[in-house]
Amino acid sequence: MLRIEGLTAEIEGKQILKGIDLEVPKGEIHAIMGPNGSGKSTLSYVLSGREGYDITGGSVTWNGQDLLAMEPEERAAAGLFLAFQYPVELPGVGNANFLRTALNAQRRARGEKEVDAMAFLKLAREKLKQLQMSDEMLKRNVNVGFSGGEKKRNEVLQMALMNPSMAILDETDSGLDIDALRIVSEGVNALRGPDFSALVITHYQRLLNYIVPDRVHVLMGGRIVRSGGKELAEELEAQGYGQASAA
């Protein structure tokens, strides 16, 4: 269970999160929608531990732990995964090497046995196949020269490999073609189960036809202004945020 209470945060003296209250019970998928600049990515960064934010109030507990007190790598090892809205390019770092290093760093932190190169390759190929991605991806440098859609798929590949218990998907659907949207959604749905929860940030109701959320929240001006069932997404699509938030 992820519990966010009264979370306020600022960056460079500018308050972005103005008191977020949100609970994601174990096994549930929640969607967050909201206008540009409302603080969705900021929330995802704060949850995953990026530097540069001042947490000025509130708390985040995750499975009983104080999430905000953990280093980003500790959060990852504990099962938190962020699919970046803008995946970062790493010139000079091979994708296969990167993925295996990350996977093994997490395993080491959890006291599990590391996977060797052969076992990793087998695992990676299996996931690539599931996501209908080419093995070529592994040979390239991380996200360098990837198309927008390829970057997003690479995020989902990482998620599939890391097998997190809590995923935050920040506009993973933006930039995906119709087929990729379906494939990526299947990738998320494959993880669905009693021990997997997710926060799916999106601008488009369409994604939620594939990844059907348990709850939908509207984030505006740094606050959750409305919450509801999956039909709220349809309402937003039809009426826009102005109407929906006033309702």
Partner: protein, 423 residues
């Protein structure tokens, strides 16, 4: 040592005693070159920071050290690393050690072939360090490839072996490729960690029509050592001089390269990487002279600095009026890993032709926080994430080298550098 000779006094006075005993003493041209070198050094002294080309590199520590020349070869043979190529040429304190070497065809110790090689020794051109080398050189590599010969990959190992005394050696390497000849040299310079020696090599290189010389230099001198090297290469029509220099060792190192593209479609690559750790100073200074039309040149130099260290990149490209349709590219990038590290970068383009394509760029920065966070968000601890990004920068820096023997030598010098030096 006095103010007039700017730290060169010791060398000059030893030359007085040595001039009749040095190799080639009976050869007119060699004698003349030595005297001219002495005159240059006497007039200019060791270059000081008032000289524009030496603004960022201070030779005071070299001037203050009291070097002697290693007049006798070391007694026992030094321990050698495993050879990387079938042909390996080993120098010990600047002397070609034939008993330790497997000389490829057309290669010989310069001291033994001075009569044949003397015409190829270039004048010092007013460069004090070349003057010093001319005055004092005892030996070097003479490699004279005939037309169309393919020498494959030759390994060169420069060892400093003399222990305690600060010695200086000034090898002179004369390398000539006749038309269509091909050569790759992979050269490593190393020495004892605590020895304050001076390695002052000069290279006279000629690449004839359609010949191609790939010159990979791995500088891993001992951490108290000085290496001041000067390469002068002339490339004829359709020829290629492809230099890659890794500066990873030494206390104070200058890697100076002059290339003249003399004929149409001659090509030059002057790439390099500098790994500069606490207490080190590394300087790559290059002069590229586009003197003929249709010549491409490529240069990428990457410097990574840790601790209290200093890096220098000076790259001058001169495009003469005759050099129409020059295609030049220069890029230098520095990665600063500490607040106390410093890089001075000075690109310089001087263009007199009107139809040219010359691009250049520079970046200086610390590790990218976005990249660090991306790695950490994937579970990689901060220290390991930093090491990965430094290694990535270094990997990119040596990426252009394709010869597998050179790749192995570079890989060995580069891998784990950050963990060894800075973490």
């Amino acid at each position: 040592m006095n103010a007039v000779t700017g730290g060169a006094g010791g060398f000059l006075s030893r030359f007085e005693g040595l001039r009749d005993r040095l190799p080639g003493a009976s050869l007119e041209r060699v004698r003349a070159l030595r005297e001219a070198g002495a005159a240059t050094l006497r007039a200019k002294g060791l270059p000081g920071r008032r000289v524009e080309e030496w603004r960022y590199t201070d030779l005071a520590p070299v001037a203050q050290a009291h070097f002697t020349e290693a007049l006798t070869a070391v007694g026992e043979s030094p321990a050698l690393p495993a050879a990387r190529a079938p042909n390996r040429i080993v120098f010990v304190d600047g002397r070609l050690a034939e008993h330790l070497s497997q000389l490829p065809p057309h290669a010989a110790p310069l001291a033994a072939r001075l009569e044949a090689a003397q015409e190829l020794l270039a004048e010092d051109g007013g460069l004090p360090l070349v003057g010093l080398n001319a005055m004092m050189f005892e030996d070097g590599l003479f490699l004279d490839l005939p037309e169309g010969a393919d020498a494959g990959t030759v390994e060169v190992l420069n060892l400093a072996a003399h222990g305690e005394r600060p010695i200086a050696f000034h090898p002179r390497h004369v390398i000539r490729l006749a038309p269509g000849a091909k050569l790759t040299i992979v050269e490593t310079s190393t020495g004892p960690a605590g020895a304050a020696y001076l390695h002052n090599p000069v290279y006279d290189i000629r690449v004839a029509e359609g010949a191609s010389f790939t010159h990979v230099r791995v500088q891993r001198e001992g951490r108290a050592a000085f290496q001041l090297s000067t390469i002068r290469a002339r490339v004829a029509a359709g020829g290629t001089y492809d230099n890659f220099t890794l500066n990873a060792g030494g206390r104070l190192v200058r890697n100076e390269i002059h290339v003249v593209l003399e004929g149409p479609k001659a090509a030059a690559h002057m790439n390099g990487a500098q790994l500069v750790a606490d207490g080190q100073h590394a300087d790559t200074t290059t002069f590229l002279d586009h003197a003929a039309p249709d010549c491409p040149s490529r240069q990428t130099v990457k410097t990574v600095l840790a601790g209290k260290s200093r890096g220098v990149f000076q790259g001058k490209i001169l495009v003469r009026q005759a050099a129409q349709r020059t295609d030049g590219y220069q890029m230098n990038q520095a990665l600063l890993l500490s607040e106390e590290a410093e890089i001075d970068a000075k690109p310089q383009l001087e263009i007199y032709a009107d139809d040219v394509k010359c691009s250049h760029g520079a970046t200086v920065g610390a590790l990218d926080p976005e990249q660090l966070f991306y790695l950490r968000a994937r579970g990689i601890p901060a220290e390991e994430a930093r090491a990965i990004l430094v290694q990535a920068f270094l990997t990119e820096a040596v990426e252009g080298v394709t010869d597998p023997i050179a790749q192995a030598a570079l890989e060995e010098a580069v891998s784990g550098w950050w963990e060894r030096e800075a973490a």
